[in-house]
């Protein structure tokens, strides 16, 4: 037997060490949380830092003289004459009037400041207003994407390498004179993809995403709810039911790319459906989100108290009437919340859509479920792979648009839950 006094002494001696250990353990926990939250902050800060300039555009406002001689154009209503005319020359002349130091040899450099599509813009406007011929009009054009990034990231080496020394000086001077201006990038929200970063937008991808989401919602919500009702209310306890349950749990954890393989082999190869269309994308995402919706719908049905069922049965309702008239309406808020979360997952999904061909370069805004389309995350993927900084900037901006959609969907789910949730 050890002397109790001695024992107490030993314990006292070790206390300091044990408390230190306790403190250290606690610090590890705080450190872990700090790391996790810090990476979240770094992730968001990085994306905002890279992409906030994507919401700005750079424009050049020029006084363009519509001179028949320099444009080789007599009659702007004659399509053949318009096709042969020169619409670049008036732009360069207007620029060189503002920049008198630019010589004849610098014309190429001047041309590199204006967007390559500015001439077609001038052509379209002139054809629309033939009476402009012989006058001088003030027209605003997009700047070249190299000027755009240089202008928005003043003083950053990486963004200016595509412009020559002189061009940089021109841009600075034009900006001082108010010819080059920065404004909100409406082009980004009103156009589809483009090879020219200055004219590339997310509208096509947003519409594509909405079409895909529509198909997914219309298919997965009814099927998921019906499956949940069957499994919770009607399924007999037998092998088939067990097998279905095991299947659903496993499907929820199958990597999403496998669903892409399924879509490619079954929908496209076997059924001969077209590639790159929102309908097939919606089908694939339906199969992917179904397990999530079924699982959350089952939880919602389970949370309806048995007293409701018993009361309905007591007044003579059939099993189906109990479910459809009483259980389902009470479980609906929970089902809706689960479905919105499932849809948010589907909206951010990329990998399976790559396999069914939704990665094509598509300029047109899709108009139906069978038009070739792309979706927001895939658009991010496409732009992120580009070596041009202007596209990287737009990819970040598109990520912000995507995150805004996701956040609002999740906020909606939380709001619904708070608003409609009932405590029994």
């Amino acid at each position: 037997m050890i002397d109790p006094k001695k024992q107490a002494e030993i314990v006292h001696k070790s206390l300091k060490k044990r408390y230190r250990k306790e403190k250290r353990f606690r610090a590890y926990g705080i450190l872990a949380i700090t790391i996790a939250l810090a990476s979240l902050i770094v992730l968001f800060a990085d994306i905002i830092n890279k992409g906030h300039t994507g919401f700005l555009k750079t424009t050049i406002t020029l006084d363009v003289e519509m001179n028949a001689e320099t444009m080789y154009l007599e009659d702007p209503t004659d399509p053949d004459a318009v096709r042969m005319a020169d619409f670049v020359e008036p732009l360069i002349q207007s620029l060189s009037e503002i920049l008198p130091e630019a010589t004849e040899e610098d014309r190429g450099k001047l041309r590199g400041l204006i967007n390559p599509y500015a001439s077609s813009q001038l052509r379209d406007e002139l054809v629309a207003n033939p009476d402009w011929m012989g006058t001088t009009q003030t027209i605003t054009f997009l700047a070249h994407s190299n000027v755009d990034v240089y202008n928005k990231h003043k003083g950053n080496e990486a963004y200016s390498i595509k412009l020559s020394e002189e061009q940089q000086q021109y841009v600075d001077k034009l900006r001082d004179k108010g010819v080059i201006e920065t404004s909100f990038n409406d082009v980004f929200f009103t156009s589809g993809d483009s090879r020219d970063p200055a004219r590339a937008g997310v509208l096509g991808a947003i519409v594509g995403s909405l079409l895909v989401m529509f198909v997914t919602l219309v298919l997965s919500f009814p099927i998921g709810v019906a499956a949940a009702i069957y499994l919770e209310e009607f399924a007999p306890r037998n092998r088939i039911t067990d097998f279905i349950e095991v299947n659903i749990n496993n499907l929820a954890a199958v990597p999403s790319i496998i669903f892409g393989l399924l879509g490619l082999a079954v929908f496209i190869n076997l059924f001969g459906m077209p590639r790159s269309v929102p309908f097939v994308g919606g089908l694939v995402l339906t199969l992917m989100t179904l397990p999530t919706i079924i699982i959350s719908s089952r939880a919602a049905i389970k949370s309806v108290p048995p007293s409701i069922r018993e009361a309905a049965e007591g007044v003579g309702a059939s099993k189906m009437q109990v479910v459809l008239h009483h259980v389902l309406p009470l479980a609906m808020p929970g089902m809706l919340t689960g479905s919105i979360i499932g849809m948010a997952q589907a909206l951010g999904e990329t990998a399976p859509l790559l396999l069914i061909g939704m990665v094509a370069f598509i300029v047109e805004i899709p108009e139906g479920f069978f038009d070739a389309a792309t979706v927001l995350p895939v658009q991010v993927f496409l732009w992120a792979g580009s070596p041009e900084l202007a596209f990287i900037e737009r990819a970040s901006a598109a990520i912000m648009v995507l995150l805004a959609f996701l956040l609002s969907m999740n906020a909606l789910a939380i709001w619904l839950r708070k608003r409609l949730e009932r405590r029994w």
Partner: protein
Amino acid sequence: MQPANLFFLILALIFTAYVLGYFRSKALARPLGGVRHLKSLPGYYAVRAALWCGIPALIILVLWASFENQIIQMLVLGTLAPEIVPASPGEASLLMSQINNIASGALSSGSVDASLVNAAELLTNLRQNSNTYMTMLVLSIAVLAGFVGWYRIQPKLNAREQVEIILRWFFFSCAAVAIMTTVGIVFSVFFETVRFFGMVSFTDFFFGTSWSPQVALRADQVGSGGAFGMIPLFTGTLLISAIALLVAVPVGLFSAIYLSEYANKHVRSVVKPLLELLAGVPTVVYGFFAALTVAPFIANFAQTLGMNASSQSALAAGLVMGIMIIPFVSSLSDDVINAVPQSLRDGSLALGSTQSETMKKVIFPAALPGIMGGILLAASRAIGETMIVVMAAGLAANLTANPLQSVTTVTVQIVTLLIGDQEFDSPKTLAAFALGAMLFIVTLLLNVIALKIVRKYREQYD
């Protein structure tokens, strides 16, 4: 008529059948003395008539629309002279698209074989006729069945029971979609995998150490066979997943411990949703972050240390993937730690141990199986993750354990092999399905084991 328009027409017919059925049941009830003398409520008679009208017509419409093309192709190719009948499915689809072009006028009929021109005419004919037949068949079935359903409404008919049986079958078939999906995955993936192993030997695939799936355009080209050894892909996947778990497991576990044992309610209610936010960020965003921020940072950092890092290092992809799966580890561990009964905690604290000693010596061992399950689930997530590695890991199949080098993974190769044109008779395309089969099996095994562990553990304390 277009299938879509036909569909809306059927919907209109269904609605008509509903309305007519409703009024017929009311009319039948009137001489008897009111609705209460009917066996079911009028609404059930109406739904029954609508179902009679809609179900057979819609089934036929779907079947027709999905198999129309195959049957037409079979008929068209069947008329061709035996010497130009295509031998392989690839040739058949080529020939078919040629016939298609002739039919649509894109290819002038003067420049090709006469039998192809005939086939093109037949194709145009069949298409027009098929459409007419389909419209006629579907509409007449809808009207006829709707009429029968309407006509057979009798006061003694138990319409409610019949409607409920149909609804039950509908619910069951929706639940069976899960089975169909699994069957679809298994068949589509494994069918192509079997074909792949008909071209590439088993041992080459499982034990080969070189992966270069390029298949030559000409037979005499150097290295024409392509190499399909999956070892470098598998080690690459394991390397990146291991880095991810090295990040996620300690961070996730300690976060869960702190949140469940130390943090007060207020901190918990703020930090938990923030951690879950990490799980809600789309993977393409992580991929962007890994490829454009983390990878260059690591490459620069390694250079200042005098090391040589690839611009697409496994480390970058692994680190970011680790961040992505932190919430999986933390929320699952949180659940199991909370499931440990309070009595164990109280007993340990009453004996004078500190909170950390309670955690390490009592709660952690009790929660360990559940935590292991959670880690396995996170591992299966990491193995199947695609976008991060597609964007941030490389394409070169290096067999290396150096995290600063570029490696490739199973998912990256599936995506690269299947983006763009696919030929379902070349081993290059089929290899993607073989890789998909491996991925499916591995993740399925991990999930099944993990779910078993988690469930078994839960039962212990319930």
